[in-house]
Every structure is written in structure tokens, then in C-alpha cells.
Amino acid sequence: MSLELKNIEKKVGLETFIYPTNLKLEKNTINVLLGSTLAGKTTLMQIMAGLDKPTAGEIWFNDQNVTGVKVQKRNVSMVYQQFINYPNYTVYENIASPLKITGVDANEIKERVGKVAELLKLSPMLDKKPNELSGGQQQRTALARALIKDSDLILLDEPLANLDFKLREELREELPKLFENRECIVVYATTEPSDALMIGGNTATILEGKIIQYGKTLDVYNNPENLTSAEVFSDPPMNIAKVNKSGDSCSLLEANTTWKTNKKIKDGNYTIGIRPHNVTVEKTSTNSVEIKGKVMISELSGSESLIHFKYGQSNWVSLSSGSHKINIGEEMKLYMNVDECLFFDQNNRLVSNG
């Protein structure tokens, strides 16, 4: 089982929603589409499902060309950001609806609904209507509807975006388990890098209608092919600066900071990217370099301190554990762990990580 997009392109009028894209999703994988709003995640999913036709290119499923085959004829389920359920059906009838339409025997429906409801903790509310449920329960119902038929392709379009923090955490932990013993391909669209890391599987970073990188989630996170991919997969945003390397010394062009390096890369100018949690209030590594920045905003959450500061000409973000006393507007000492710097060349391609 595999789903393959071959040179898929989508244009609406003069606007290009998806630039020519190739992507192959394998059997029994969870694939995260990671990108900001309007990056093209939903369009891509609708094309995968057959809800929308690509302007050019082909979709192959199990070595069969399914381009233009309607969604009803494909074995697909989808869960949306909004909680989509039939308003005047009970939870039971909602979950059973995909089976009823295909004419499954009543006893079997009962058994399967029971199982799925158990899995999603919906058993006590099977007789209620969707609008009597909390948002989390409504979304569980929608998930149950997607899981009850043995779909080949399950699409989840930002399913947790409309839930409050606690419910989101809870459901996010359960999600990967739900797909463990299923023969299907799961696609999960999200705007949050932390979602991708928690779900695991594979990740495709997407920006403005282009897939930047696709691979194992941790690989994409640790070895972003280029600066764009690294930026898409970083929240809070990645800190970026220009450096010059000559011999065994590295220096930032905009600020007066130099450190020793044993990197085996050619001398010259590079762009470095460093994630906020590697710029901290306290020294975390022997190779940490002291830098000075002017504090602009600080956000304390108790367990973490987020500091936005001006470093040279750039706006940087620092994320440290614990609460720290921070005075806005003051110059402050911070430590940058240079071991964790990603080096990108003039074409923004990764040349060295750490």
C-alpha cells in the first residue's frame, strides 16, 4: 500500500496553491504536513483524498492511477479542524453513518461502533446529540467516524487546533496509538512543530505551496536540508545570524562575538541557525559563548522563561528553563551553545549541524 503524488500542481486562476510536488507515502506510516496557515496543507490533503483535482500531475494509489477518481469511490476518511458531525444524529448514529451508507449488517455495526466508542472513550455518551457534548468529545466523535471504516487513507486536518490546551495534549498523546494496528496511511496536518515531534513518523515541511523536505521526523528536525526547512520546524522561531569562519575561529558579523571551532568546513561566510532553547540565561555547555542582548519582551510561564532580545541588528529569542528575573530594556548576558549551531552556506543549504 502506498500513496504517491507525481508532479502534482494546483492553480486557481493565476494563483498557484501547490507548486509541482512529488511525495511518496508508505503503508502504515503517520505523515505530518507541517507548515503555517495557507501553506497549502489543506489543498494537498484534498487532492490526496480526491475532493479536489490537481491542475497537473497524477496521484497513484497501490500502483494504480487514481487521479480524478471521486472521493466516494476511494476508501478515505477525513477529520477537520471544525468538529464536523451530523447535527441531529446521536453520537451512535454519527459513528455508524459511514457503515450504514455502505450497507453493513446491523449487528456488525453495533459491534464495531461499540469498539470504536470504547477506544475513544465515547461509550457513556452514545445517545447524546453532538451539540450536547464538549468540543473534545465532538472531535472524538468525528475521529470515531473516521476510524470506523477500514480506510486506506486517513486525513487529519489540524484536528486539535480548535481544542483547548488540556484536551489537545490529551488527544495528541492518544492519536498515534489509535493508528498502531491499522493497515492505512495517516496524514496529519498541523502548524505546530511540537505536534510533529510528539506524533513522530515522517514529516514534510511545507512553505508557500512547496514541500521543502520530507523524511523521518527527527531527521528533519535535526538535519534540516536548508534554512527554510529549519525555520518551518522551529517554534519559537529560530535565531539566525551571519558568521565568518576563518581557520579555527568563528565570528558573528553583526555583533562582537568570536569563538573557537573545530569544524571541517571551508573558510568563508555562513548563516547560522540556533534554536531558542540553545540560547539560555545560564551556561549549559562548556562550549557556550557569552553574548549580550537588549531585552525587549519577556514571557515567564513558571517552568520556562522566554526572552525576546535585540542581538546586534537581529531579533533573537532565548528559552531557558526556570523563572529568571528579567528587566525589560536592560542589557543582559546570555549563553549561546555553539555546539548546537546549524551552519548553512550561501545558498542556505545545510553544511554542518552542531
Binding site: Q46, V76, M78, Q81, P87, I101, T102, K129
Partner: protein, 288 residues
């Protein structure tokens, strides 16, 4: 928190009280006054108790008018609600077609009621009216001024023309508030067009449809101007709906007592039907 008592707040309510008193309570009380008394000239009244109410409730004339009224309302609801929903379903959802359709649809609603009556009167005249003449030349014996069936046909057609737009606009607003994801989800389930209508569109339109049915019930039950101008209640009493009959009684025959009693009964019927209807439609909503 401590709440202080300040009776001066009542002062703010006085303007509303005065206004409502003048435009609702005082006229209504005058009618109540007439309903329990015999009215003679030069402001002389005699107490009659509930005599007029009994008389009206037992009179064949009132029963007949009431019957005609319910028949008329029932027929126009039966036509306008499904027709309105149907038209709303076929209207475009984007592009230049939207404003075009909306403007065309709201046209009939903008025309004064007596003008609608006059228009249809001329339109349906058997000799010179476009509709009447056409029907006759096609071989139908159509004359709404003499045959009661034709009078009913014309009145109903006029009301459908005048008011279906209201149902269309309300249904259209209801349909437009449904998120596209619902249609996609139904498509993925393999639902048919009918399933989509029955299980997504209709439940989502429930509130606006309740409103549409209520408005159309009240307006059609109290209809006066249009049939008055079109048929004047005729031929005979064929299209004399409650309000037309009431005006005949009050101003034509000057039977102020029975007419006042009749208007109160009329008022309570409208109130009762609306209340029953609204409670039934909203019964399921209360739970959530």
C-alpha cells in the same frame, strides 16, 4: 457585592411605558371596552357581558371565515416553504449571480401591499389582463371576479409571488452559514444529495425555517390589503378572510360590539397558534 436600592431607575422605563401605552395598550383596551358593551350613538353604552363573544363563537359566518382563513394559510405555507427552500438551494453561492438573484428576489418584498393587489387585479382581469386574457385564449374559462375557484387561485398565486422571496432569503442565509467541510464530510461518507439535504442542510436551517414559518403564518393569517384590493372578499364571500369579514362587520355594518369581540378572538387565535408552534419547534433546543 452590596446592591443598593434606587427607585429612580423606574424613571428610565417611563418613556417606553408611555409609548407602548399609546400604541398598544390604549387602542387594545378600547376594543376590550367595545367587546363587553352595546354601543349607541352619543357615547351611550350598555353592559352586555360575554354576549358578543358567545354570539361570534356560535355564528356560522365566523366559522366560515375562520375556515377560509385556515385553508388559505395552510395552502400558502404548503407552497411557499418548500418552494422557498427549493429556490434557495438552486441559487448560486458565489460570483455575480449572488447579488443578481438577491436583488431579483427582494423586488416583490419592496412593493407596497395595496400596489401588489392592484397589480394582480389588472394582471388577472379576464378581458384585458395579461394572465386572465392568456388563460382564456388558451381555452380556460377564467374569471376571478365571478368564479370563486378562480378568485382563490389568483389570491394564492399573488401571495406566493409576493412572499416566497422572504422564505428564499431566510433559507439562503441559513444555507450559507453551513461550513463547506460539512459537505466534504458527507461526500467522503458517500452520502447522496438527498441525505445531504435531510441530515445536514435541513437541520442547519431549522432556526431560520422556524422563523420563516412563523412570519408567514402570522402575515398570511392577518392578510387584508392584498385580497381587499384584488377581490374585495368576493365573489360573494368566497375570499372574505377573517380580517376582511371583520372590517365589513365593524365599518360596513357598524356592529361595534360583535366586531370588537371578534377581533379579540382573532388576536387570541394568532397568539395561541404562534405559541404552540414555537414551543413545538423549540422543544428540542431547550435541552442543549
Amino acid at each position: 457585592m452590596n446592591k443598593t436600592v434606587n427607585q429612580k431607575a423606574w424613571l428610565f422605563v417611563i418613556p417606553v411605558f408611555v409609548l407602548v401605552a399609546f400604541n398598544a395598550v390604549v387602542p387594545l383596551m378600547t376594543v376590550v371596552n367595545y367587546a363587553f358593551q352595546e354601543t349607541f350613538g352619543s357615547n351611550v353604552f350598555a353592559w352586555e357581558g360575554t354576549r358578543w363573544f358567545k354570539q361570534i363563537l356560535q355564528s356560522d359566518r365566523f366559522h366560515a371565515a375562520l375556515g377560509r382563513q385556515f385553508t388559505f394559510t395552510f395552502i400558502i405555507l404548503l407552497i411557499q416553504i418548500p418552494l422557498g427552500i427549493g429556490i434557495a438551494l438552486t441559487m448560486p453561492k458565489k460570483g455575480w449571480g449572488v447579488p443578481t438573484c438577491l436583488i431579483l428576489m427582494s423586488m416583490p418584498l419592496l412593493i407596497p401591499w395595496n400596489v401588489v393587489g392592484a397589480m394582480w387585479n389588472i394582471f388577472a382581469l379576464p378581458d384585458i389582463g395579461f394572465l386572465g386574457h392568456t388563460l382564456n385564449s388558451l381555452g380556460f374559462d377564467f374569471n376571478f371576479t365571478q368564479q370563486s375557484g378562480d378568485a382563490w387561485f389568483t389570491t394564492i398565486l399573488m401571495d406566493v409571488w409576493h412572499w416566497t422571496s422572504l422564505v428564499v432569503l431566510l433559507s439562503y442565509a441559513g444555507l450559507n452559514s453551513i461550513q463547506p467541510a460539512y459537505y466534504q464530510a458527507a461526500e467522503i461518507d458517500g452520502a447522496s444529495r438527498w441525505d445531504i439535504f435531510r441530515y445536514i442542510e435541513l437541520p442547519k436551517m431549522k432556526k431560520v425555517l422556524t422563523l420563516a414559518i412563523l412570519l408567514r403564518f402570522m402575515d398570511s393569517f392577518m392578510i387584508y390589503t392584498e385580497p381587499f384590493v384584488l377581490t374585495g372578499g368576493g365573489p360573494g364571500n368566497a375570499t372574505a378572510f377573517l380580517s376582511i369579514d371583520l372590517v365589513k362587520m365593524a365599518l360596513g355594518q357598524f356592529d361595534l360590539g360583535p366586531a370588537a369581540a371578534m377581533s379579540l378572538i382573532y388576536f387570541f387565535i394568532v397568539l395561541l397558534v404562534c405559541w404552540v408552534f414555537y414551543s413545538l419547534m423549540m422543544k428540542n433546543e431547550v435541552k442543549s
